[in-house]
């Protein structure tokens, strides 16, 4: 797994590439995947708590995108559309399993950390956050991941989740409160 960040997607290029994908151009598809997969896998990993499942779901997202390429209308950003498909797949995955993810991810410390102690602290915190996030109700987890991890505006999150902006704001507020409660050993009672 490489940590290099692909160049940021450009909406116009995405539209052009999608038109080529609709005509069956596999090179265009390869380029689209290269541009968008890292954030998609990051989001899915936060949702399902497993790298392998996140990759499987991301693969399915792109297969569905390819199937829908000829019908796709560029009303929203492609990245929003991809996360919308991913969110629906996550909901299906939970329904299929009949449970929510409860396992925390193992996060390796960044190689650039200055001391071993700080690396350990970072790893501990990441694990604690992941465990706490896994305990959130699904809609709160999705909302907090999209706003804090993916840095999306409320309007875009509302579009992805198919709910009013007010619901998104409520879920994010509740998620923050719940996370503070779950992590009170780290941050104390406020």
């Amino acid at each position: 797994m490489s940590q290099e960040e692909p160049t940021l997607p450009d909406d116009e290029d995405d539209k052009r590439l999608m038109a080529l994908v609709a005509e069956g151009d596999d090179d265009a598809l390869r380029l689209l995947v290269h541009r968008h997969h890292a954030r998609l896998v990051g989001y899915l990993r936060g949702e399902v708590g497993s790298q392998a499942t996140a990759e499987e779901l991301a693969m399915e997202v792109f297969i569905r995108l390819h199937r829908a390429a000829s019908r796709w209308r560029p009303e929203a950003k492609l990245s929003t559309y991809l996360i919308h498909i991913a969110h629906n797949l996550v909901l299906n995955e939970w329904r299929r399993r009949g449970r929510k993810p409860t396992t925390a991810l193992e996060f390796a410390a960044e190689p650039g950390d200055s001391t071993q102690q700080s690396a350990r602290r970072v790893a501990e915190l990441d694990e604690a956050f992941q465990r706490a996030i896994a305990q959130l109700p699904p809609e709160q987890r999705t909302a907090i991941l999209l706003v804090v991890q993916q840095e999306l505006p409320y309007e875009e999150i509302a579009e992805i989740m198919g709910v009013p902006v007010s619901s998104v704001k409520t879920w994010i507020h509740r998620a923050r409160s719940r996370l503070r409660e779950l992590l009170k050993d780290f941050y104390g009672n406020e």
Partner: protein, 120 residues
């Protein structure tokens, strides 16, 4: 008003989540293209199988509809029978047909006994 715990929490939440924001996977694009090609082939097969199934269903329907009904078959049999001269001749001979049907059931010895009986 700022709670230091609150500020730290927000910062560390953002820092922790942003570390998992982007997870690039080597060779992922090639895997996706491979999966998409397989999916495309599968859908072509499915499309052709449905076309073949529909064609087979049409063929069966055509054959079924063009097969004469039982009534039509009866009419045809009677028409053929009407043109069969040997059958008409047999009718003229009366019960010859019945006799020919019965004959295998009559034993030769019993016929001889009847013929040879005194007074016959």
């Amino acid at each position: 008003m700022d709670n230091p715990h609150h500020k730290t929490f927000e910062q560390e939440l953002a820092a922790s989540l942003s570390r998992g924001r982007s997870v690039a996977v080597t060779g992922f694009a090639d895997r996706v293209v491979g999966a998409v090609r397989a999916d495309r082939r599968r859908r072509v097969v499915i499309r052709w199988s449905s076309v073949a199934t529909a064609a087979a269903a049409c063929l069966v329907a055509v054959l079924t509809l063009s097969t004469p009904s039982e009534e039509a078959l009866n009419r045809q049999t009677f028409a053929l029978f009407a043109h069969d001269e040997s059958a008409q001749f047999a009718d003229l001979l009366g019960a010859s047909a019945d006799l020919s049907l019965l004959s295998p059931a009559v034993e030769k010895s019993s016929v001889a006994e009847v013929l040879n009986a005194p007074g016959s």
